[in-house]
Subunit: 404 residues, 2 copies
């Protein structure tokens, strides 16, 4: 199959491109490399030394004989995108090309504006261009569990659609509706907006769309990234792009306190990177038909409380846990039960935290510990100005922000 991987230079995009290439698909990576620019802006770098996308593609070819074609393209440029689609006519499109960090999206007004503008315009341009060019590709989009919000209805979160009963003059009526969204950050909100875009284009134009509501990804290697040191995946440890479990493992590796925000009573959904790329493969095999509603999967394998993870990592490594004020505006404690029947029925065999892969992440972190800037470990973004006042210092006593 000819597959376009939009955002194929990113944390999940890159291993997905390799995974699908190894399966024999013709892979076109489309990326504006914005994530590398953001590294430059923030003055951080991937823990793992990451080559240019061109060099990575060259190594993959040497190693496997498969070609990855890289296209430098910004989805915000509608006309270039339309021309590209008309020329390459992919049969499937995997869409990772959005700014994906909640803390980055809350950093300042400029970051909020960038995240909304980039994500909404990119996604909508893609949909409009698919209709205009008549490219009948299966669109698989990386969404987030965060569209549900963390104040759930008190029942396991279904896969995208919620059964409700409404009173009508002729008696109660059962409906299935898009789960009422309650995103907790500007980033998560853009994925909620995407859902409405998808609903419209599936209904009006018969586009075939799958939306993957992904949990927090942990781990760094997949079978394909392990094949050569230069195929290594990006590994973010900083307060903006690092994901919580990976951050605990890095913190443990360098003797930094494990930074738990608030009580750590937040329950989150998790998935290992290897399962994440496998889920994309499974979703591709199960496309909706034209005219069908958007297919929504919960792409996660287990849920945990943040403090339980911290305590588990602390026990495993001897690290200490630091409880810090929460920079996010959210409930201290929440329950989270999630359905993921669809991927299980398609054959997913979840990799759990028990599989020993936690140690692998610690090993990676130790190997590259000399590349870590400790001052970039804490979260600096605060959800509101009031919260910013309360969260002033990192666990090592450094001031988090310059006084404005």
């Amino acid at each position: 199959m000819r597959i376009a991987v939009l955002g194929g230079d990113g944390f999940v995009g890159w291993p997905t491109a390799l995974h699908l290439s190894a399966l024999g698909h013709e892979i076109h990576i489309v990326d504006n490399l914005s994530r590398r620019w953001i590294d430059t802006e923030l003055g951080v770098q991937s823990l793992t030394p990451m080559d240019s996308i061109q060099e990575r593609c060259r190594i993959w070819h040497l190693e496997t004989g498969h070609r990855l074609q890289f296209h430098f393209l910004d989805l915000r440029e509608y006309d270039r995108l339309r021309v590209w689609l008309a020329e390459h006519r992919p049969e499937a499109i995997i869409h990772f090309a959005e700014q994906r960090a909640a803390p980055y999206s809350m950093k300042s007004d400029r970051h909020k504006v960038y995240t909304v503008s980039n994500n909404v315009n990119a996604t909508h341009n893609l949909l409009a261009a698919m209709v205009e060019t008549g490219v009948d590709a299966h669109l698989v989009h990386l969404g987030t569990m965060g569209v549900y919000g963390y104040s759930t209805v008190g029942a396991p979160i279904p896969e995208g659609y919620l059964d409700v009963t409404v009173d009508t003059p002729t008696g109660p009526r059962d409906l299935q509706i898009l789960y009422p969204t309650r995103p907790g950050s500007i980033y998560h909100m853009t994925k909620s907006l995407d859902q409405i875009l998808f609903q419209f284009y599936a209904q009006n134009d018969g586009l075939r769309i799958t939306d993957l509501h992904q949990g927090i990804v942990w781990g760094t290697h997949t079978d394909q990234t392990r094949r050569h040191p230069q195929l290594v995946n990006r590994f973010d440890y900083d307060g903006d792009y690092g994901t919580v479990l990976n951050r605990f493992l890095v913190q443990a590796a360098i003797g930094y306190p494990l930074t738990v925000h608030g009580t750590g009573g937040q329950t989150r959904a998790f998935i290992h990177l290897q399962d994440s790329v496998r889920c994309v493969e499974l979703a591709l095999s199960d496309a909706p038909r034209a005219g069908e509603r958007v297919k929504i999967f919960n792409q996660m394998t287990e849920t945990h409380r943040v403090r339980d993870l911290a305590e588990m990592v602390a026990k495993m490594t001897g690290a200490r846990v630091a409880y810090l004020p929460n920079p996010r505006k959210e409930a201290d404690e929440n329950e989270l039960m999630v359905r993921n029947d669809q991927f299980l029925s398609l054959g997913l065999k979840p990799i759990t935290l028990a599989e020993g892969l936690l140690a692998e992440v610690v090993d990676v972190a130790k190997k590259f510990a000399h590349r870590i800037d400790r001052s970039r470990v804490p979260c600096v973004s605060a959800w509101t100005k009031d919260i910013a006042q309360r969260v002033e210092h990192d666990p090592e006593g450094r001031r988090l922000r310059s006084v404005s």
Copy 2:
């Protein structure tokens, strides 16, 4: 009160600005005049001869002694918007500054992209700038009944929030959720996106927001636009911007068949322009508190089937009704019951179709009939390419689109 009217040069924006100015408020009209540029693009013009915004403001001052301050500003320019807000610090902001025609939004891929980019970025920039500048204004946004979609749950449409029951492991649970949206065009979809933006900013930042889900506006004069010929309101009769009832009245005035799409069985919600500006006044008087959820009003006064309106106008004027293929993708027939208790309880006394104001519109149309380009009367935009194939000629036999 110091009030910013964003989009204050438009069809409802202008009479709202006059209405609030007449009540003694300090009015700042902010507009990028995009609606006038779109007239130029489409080669159409308001049926009523409309002066420049600067000239209109001058006449208003001569006529009433009140000043309207006009600011040429595009909300897509975030930095200029933020600086403007910080400088003028309005106490209320009425936000009309979005592309507001469904047919225009479906005209081509370029028009879809423009509508999404313009509307979403404008609204989000405004919200981000309000938070950044700490301007604690009551934001009143003009939304649309179209966010509900026309496939309703079989009960009267509540004002924004729907009561539902959900099954949980501990028994049924009652929830009130944002009404599940099902917009029928790109334009309507942008208003659905706005709802999510408002929900987030009300919840995260405590912004005080009112969203007015407005029906189709008819009529052209208000008490204030009647005061001087040069204060006359814009009147759109073309297939993109003209609203259905006003279009019937214009068609009747010039002996053009009344263009009903499909069976005309679509039921729509309506409101007279004078009530629309009064509703904005009432909404301003009833602001939510910080931390409260978004307040949503249904801003409409009656519902009618499109074919009933056509037949009523035909009977009143002797015009003939032409049933044409429907360029929209929608059900042929739908019921629509709508609650509007909140405005009634705030004192709205609805102006109904029975009030004799239909004849006023016909009079306006006859007076300016020489300014009408008959070729611009039919709807040219089709919702999908398939539909475009079926809708090829106008009721007078002209080809609607050039063959591409």
